[in-house]
């Protein structure tokens, strides 16, 4: 799965937690969940759970800590998919 495909699949997962609609429309590889999208940090665990479900992967605690922006999230998803 390429980066763009992953971003497209991440959009509906992230959308419910976004408080800044404008920032969401400009979502790209460099977007940071907290500083750019203004997502409440407590909700990051919800995003991780939804990502696990959508991609049928399991994300370990170490990876989870890094899932603060799209770039890292995409890399982690790709790694986990490759491990399957």
């Amino acid at each position: 799965m390429n980066k763009q495909e992953i971003i497209e699949r991440l959009k509906p997962i992230v959308k419910p937690f976004v408080k800044d609609e404008e920032a969401f429309n400009g979502i790209n590889e460099k977007t940071h969940f907290i500083t750019d999208l203004n997502i409440n940090s407590a909700n990051l665990v919800d995003i991780v759970l939804d990502v696990e479900e959508a991609f049928d992967i399991e994300i370990d605690n170490e990876s989870m800590e890094k899932m603060l922006d799209l770039e890292n999230t995409i890399a982690i998803i790709q790694t986990k998919l490759a491990e399957k």
Partner: protein, 424 residues
């Protein structure tokens, strides 16, 4: 100099009516909110009827965002937030989104448990080694102070934000705790009230000790029978009541509508001594609570026009009447009017005191006494204590000046608050 405290806003989520207008009509007309409960039947409860407020999905969305409703499973917080926000708006207050919170406003909003369904869901996940899948709101929904935390955040409250818990006295206690805080000048405005979860996991323990009626599963609306000769236990209920209470000067300065004044009250415990136990009241403490409430309010027992009792529809109803009678030194035709909202809504447990207080305050503001339903066959002992016409079975239109409301709870705890019609 103690501050005077008045009630300027009300909110209600009751089994027989959600929202002030529906609820007022329901209590005036003796409308029962008790229904057959299929889930209790499925789970083989002895008592298969309950008082559960009806909340539509549309209504939920007026108070919660889609995000908040994700994995939301706490009826107590649902009822409490609706009642609390309604009371705030009813008081003519707005929800501001300022940089700083409102330092002068707080909340004391009680509950017995929080999010018991969410707790159940979480426990199943934990036992299935799925702790990491609990989600971000498991704590907020199941901590006992969840309700005050939700309300505090929605309203931006900057004064005390807490949850009290004292079984069936919870709601009455919350009013008195907020009252004292304003009286002492520590807050100008408090959102007080209480809520209770609904469903089998909150009611099961009561069903197990057989304090709920199992004789009216075929006639739900006849099931809750306070003061009746055929009372056979309470009907489990749930819901929330909320009151915005304010320092009189603050209320007058902003031209707020005033429902009633809180003159005073008392909270005590029988200490589970004498005839008091975990589940039975110590009558000496009950009477002392009432007389101390009158002293605190500086009211003579003869000035009480009406009582809103605890009166759950167990065998203890006549003992409660006897306690009121002795505490006030009034009996027979000299006894005040008395009614029990539980005849229409069941026992809303930790929500009871506030739901019933909202009804009591409405009676004062709109000059009526709501009817007691299901006591056409009045308990014989009660008949020997007070005159039957003091227990209205039809709506009475009547000016009420001073009304006492009391609640009693497991743990041998008591609360009594004295409300008065507000006159300039």
């Amino acid at each position: 100099m103690k501050k005077r405290v008045v009630i300027t806003g009300l909110g209600i989520v009751a089994p027989n009516g959600v929202g002030l207008e529906t609820f007022t009509n329901a209590i005036k007309n003796g409308v029962s909110g008790i229904k057959f409960d299929a889930e209790l039947e499925r789970l083989k409860f002895s008592c298969q009827i309950s008082g559960t407020p009806k909340i539509s999905e549309e209504l939920k969305r007026e108070y919660f965002t889609e995000l908040e409703l994700r994995n939301f499973n706490s009826t107590g917080i649902l009822y409490g937030v609706i009642a609390g926000i309604d009371a705030w708006k009813d008081a003519g207050l707005t929800i501001e989104n300022n940089e700083n919170p409102d330092w002068e406003s707080g909340t004391i909003f009680g509950t017995g448990t929080s999010g018991i369904e969410k707790f159940r869901e979480s426990i199943y996940k934990i036992d299935d080694f799925q702790t990491r899948r609990l989600g971000s709101t498991a704590v907020a929904q199941t901590m006992n102070s969840g309700i005050s935390a939700y309300l505090g955040g929605k309203l931006g409250l900057g004064n005390q934000v807490t949850t009290n818990s004292s079984a069936c006295t919870t709601g009455t206690e919350s009013i008195l705790l907020g009252f004292e805080r304003i009286q002492q000048g520590k807050a100008k405005r408090m959102l007080v009230g209480s809520t209770s979860d609904s469903g089998p996991y909150i009611w099961g323990g009561f069903d197990a000790i057989k304090v709920c009626t199992f004789k009216h599963n075929e006639k739900p609306e006849k099931g809750s029978r306070p003061m009746s000769a055929t009372a056979s236990g309470f009907v489990p209920g749930s819901g929330a009541g909320a009151l915005v209470i304010e320092d009189l000067e603050t209320a007058l300065a902003r031209g707020a509508r005033i429902y009633a004044e809180i003159l005073g009250g008392n909270i005590n415990s029988g200490g589970q001594r004498g005839e008091g136990t975990m589940t039975a009241p110590n009558s000496i403490a009950v009477q002392k609570c009432i007389t101390d409430a009158l002293k605190d309010a500086n009211v003579n027992p003869n000035e009480i026009d009406a009582i809103n009792g605890h009166l759950t529809a167990t065998s203890k109803d006549s003992l409660e009447i006897q306690n009121w009678s002795q505490a006030l030194g009034r009996k027979g035709t000299d006894f005040p009017f008395i009614n029990s909202l539980k005849s229409m809504v069941g026992h809303c447990l930790s929500g009871a005191g506030s739901v019933e207080s909202v009804a009591t305050v409405l009676q004062i503001y709109k000059s009526f006494i709501f009817p007691n339903i299901n006591c056409e066959d009045l308990n014989d002992e009660i008949k020997t204590l007070i005159s039957e016409d003091k227990i209205p079975k039809q709506l009475l239109h009547k000016e009420l000046n001073i009304v006492a409301k009391a609640s009693f709870g497991f743990g041998d705890v008591n609360g009594c608050v004295i409300f008065k019609k507000y006159k300039d």
